[in-house]
Symmetry: D2
Subunit: 290 residues, 4 copies
């Protein structure tokens, strides 16, 4: 049985050498035009590339699919995150009722986390934790819906470390806030579909300044992945107009726990200080409420 | 077998009438002092209430637990979210390495979503969706780490509806931003441990003004639940200094998809307008990046 | 003696009909290329336009200047606000000491207010107040340093009126926040040198949607003035890298007092409600401190 | 003629030694209860203190006032900034029309700047500039309407220096953002009537941690003045519900120009870098618009 979390593009690359000449043409076309291929019939795709329909079917088989429809479904899955919101809204399922929506969305998010566990690279994760402790200054940038992840990561990281800066649009723009970034600094860029141009521009600037870049994103082929030193991938698939940031948030939890674990003794005194402030200024509700 | 998601306090209340007189004393003590009881031995608890140790054990059995240690574990689980950060840091597991952290945290978040699916009330969810469409104005308030959820919910709800206001601390404080809330308005309060006092104060004010209140929180016994017209419960357990907002975020996704589904035809034209603006101002990266 | 606050360009336009043919050529060139003319000698300017150097000098006299150097100084003054920050830093005076800086900057700001009083059009101001009361919804937008003015205006206007929205960059971008602006709405755009492109783009969008636009800016020839229904001009000259927003802030004070004056009886009850909230939550320090 | 900007309380203190015994009793009562005294008749005040009405009148004369009404007017002026918003709204003048409002408000702001120039202490200003360059880290805090000043000061200071942090309410509260403040750090607190309690609490915390505190406020007797190492006073009088921050903004301009002047050569290269970024990303509108 095929692993449903196998990355189609990587599969194509891995299988490339043992494909026939005609199949290689299909492989190249798909790699470069997967968004178009996803909506072509086997016949139309064959026509485009200059091979027969049956070559297309055998190509699908060679990659481990039962037939072309299965391959095409995977292609459509792949591009889902890059569709416009209107296209995605049209593609979204018609649920029979709101109870069904509720369970399907939560189950889809569990699947996103499950896929994230299966795909994540422990060594990269460890390197990311190391680079957080090695950095002179840490900048966290995420814009639009991803800014909620950046704020969450920054909120907790600021409780642990004293060199963290959350970059958010405000009076100063993102470039001004990152103006002095340098080669000893770390930039954590959070970029999920539909990838914000400003985030990518800002990350590119920090890369030019020599900073180490960690990308938290939805795939190894996302725009930020190509400019990151380390890429942490978390799934954000959601068959609707919403980009689910549930698995990315869970990944960020893990990152925070891992960072906190290393500093356990030191941060305990920080939290002690905070507890006193919180209590003095009544920040938290302490009443038992049963 | 016991349902692990059964709420201990509800279980006590349900079983109350068929308990012995001594067991009833224990039940009352636990209900009022569960945070203390959680750290007492059976003997000490019996002593405190004035019953024998074996009465305490039989009380645990009567509630369906194998013994007192199992009941105590559940009590500790219950209060975990109300511990100080320092206490929680001390309670957090010592993971052998960062790969282990990663997988355990993500699995814990999957469990949080699973428990949320099992416990959520479809009818309440449907009522919440209805009340969103019935409201004159919708205020969303969440402070501290919960503000990231409020911003996320507000970001998408603002794309669908034209009467949504995210209440965030800024130049104006939260009361000023909610000053004119009235009985035709809906307030969505997001409150997770350790419950922000300001959120509760603000929600109380809106309740006094007659607004309908939806609480998104971690249990039916959280402070906000007692003043909400509808309470949506999502689990936030995390054995560390971080409060996991993963299941709450997934619940919010479901809420957004359900609201969007009802307005599918109307919002399609809104998104169409947005796509043109986004394209004109190059908001999203459109380059294929394989 | 010439009124130093006389607007050079208006002066040229007013004097145009009584200029000689050669002087008219100079007038047209300056109006269209004042930034270049500001750095040309009389001889070079004459050369460019095709007239003699003495015609240039007589042109300066005709406008009321002692000679060409005085006219040129005024041109340089005019463009100061549109120079790059580096150019402006180079132009800034070398003060002998910090006490001198202090007094000169404060005096310059008094002059900015004085010039604003002399130039402001009472009727436009009254129309602006009227349009605030006529609007269905009021959007306030100012970005970069002008966002501080937008926040200030919005903070107080929100205490008086219930239909005010401050547009600030955040999770949603400025276009999304103004998406539903329509012909019954009012947009107050605050735009000072060096004029933010995003503000102008956003104002242009609202203009296309039919909204009434009030521009608060530094001159009748600023980019926002050309797309505003009403333009309120406040001086922001400052011979340094800082754009002084002092006179604009004073103008906003006047706008707030004028709006508040009309609603005096109604807002008194709002403030009464606020005072109770402020007192309950200890927002203000009430201790006498002598 | 009396200097209208003479501080009444200082005047009382200066004159104290040469007052009669009965006058001294009045002086002490007023110093401690100026807010009550401001609304007492000469007869009532004498009664309260246990002296005759004519002693009260002679006390007014001894301080340089024509009579008691003039002294009382000054007392009322003094407390204006500490009145509730409702009281201030009731006290505000009834202007005959909006043109009158406009000119009176702008003139009042010019007077505020004028008084600020007359009262400011050059040496303190110079010490403030020095302390900015001596600090390890610089925190800027201002809440409610004063947050606009904090943002403005921070926006420009961030362009000049690399160790500036604006403290604004957000996901993290103000204490968390200042948690690690220490004795090598500088805190600039901006606090104008009606003084925000949170600002004062935060400043007190930083003082306890040993930080140097600069207070930017409206008088030497404001709450923040008593805990500041250096106090910069700028007038904020406004006979309405608005607190005018015009003179404070002008003072901040002067501070920025003075700081920038010292770093002229160094910051020129920073601005050069910024200009390239601004141009690349089209931050400013560059079209000549005449």
């Amino acid at each position: 049985m095929r692993d449903e979390n196998l990355d189609l593009i990587k599969n194509i690359q891995k299988s490339f050498s043992r494909l026939s000449k005609g199949q290689k043409l299909i492989a190249q076309f798909i790699t470069n035009n997967y968004d178009k291929a996803a909506f072509m019939t086997a016949s139309k795709l064959g026509n485009k590339v200059g091979v027969s329909e049956s070559t297309v079917v055998r190509f699908a088989n060679a990659l481990g699919y039962e037939g072309y429809p299965q391959l095409q479904k995977e292609l459509q899955e792949l591009i889902k995150t890059k569709l416009t919101t209107v296209q995605r809204l049209e593609m979204s399922q018609d649920y029979t009722n709101e109870g069904a929506v509720l369970k399907k969305v939560l189950k889809a998010d569990m699947d996103n986390i499950k896929a994230t566990i299966e795909e994540i690279d422990d060594e990269v994760f460890q390197n990311v934790v190391n680079s957080i402790f090695d950095a002179k200054r840490i900048y966290i940038i995420g814009l639009r819906s991803s800014s909620t992840l950046a704020e969450y990561l920054g909120f907790y990281l600021n409780l642990i470390l004293d060199n963290v800066k959350i970059v958010t649009p405000g009076v100063s723009d993102v470039f001004e806030q990152m103006l002095r970034v340098g080669k000893d600094d770390l930039v954590i860029g959070i970029s999920f579909p539909r990838y914000s141009t400003n985030t990518l521009n800002a990350i590119n600037y920090t890369k030019e300044q020599g900073a180490v870049v960690i990308g938290i994103t939805d795939s190894q082929v996302s725009p930020i992945a190509s400019i990151s030193d380390y890429t942490l991938v978390a799934r954000s698939n959601m068959a609707s107009f919403v980009d689910s940031l549930v698995a990315p948030l869970s990944l960020i939890n893990a990152l925070l726990v891992a960072v906190g674990m290393r500093e356990k003794d030191e941060i305990s005194s920080t939290f002690d200080k905070l507890e006193k402030i919180w209590e003095k200024h009544n920040v938290y509700n302490n009443k038992n409420t049963i």
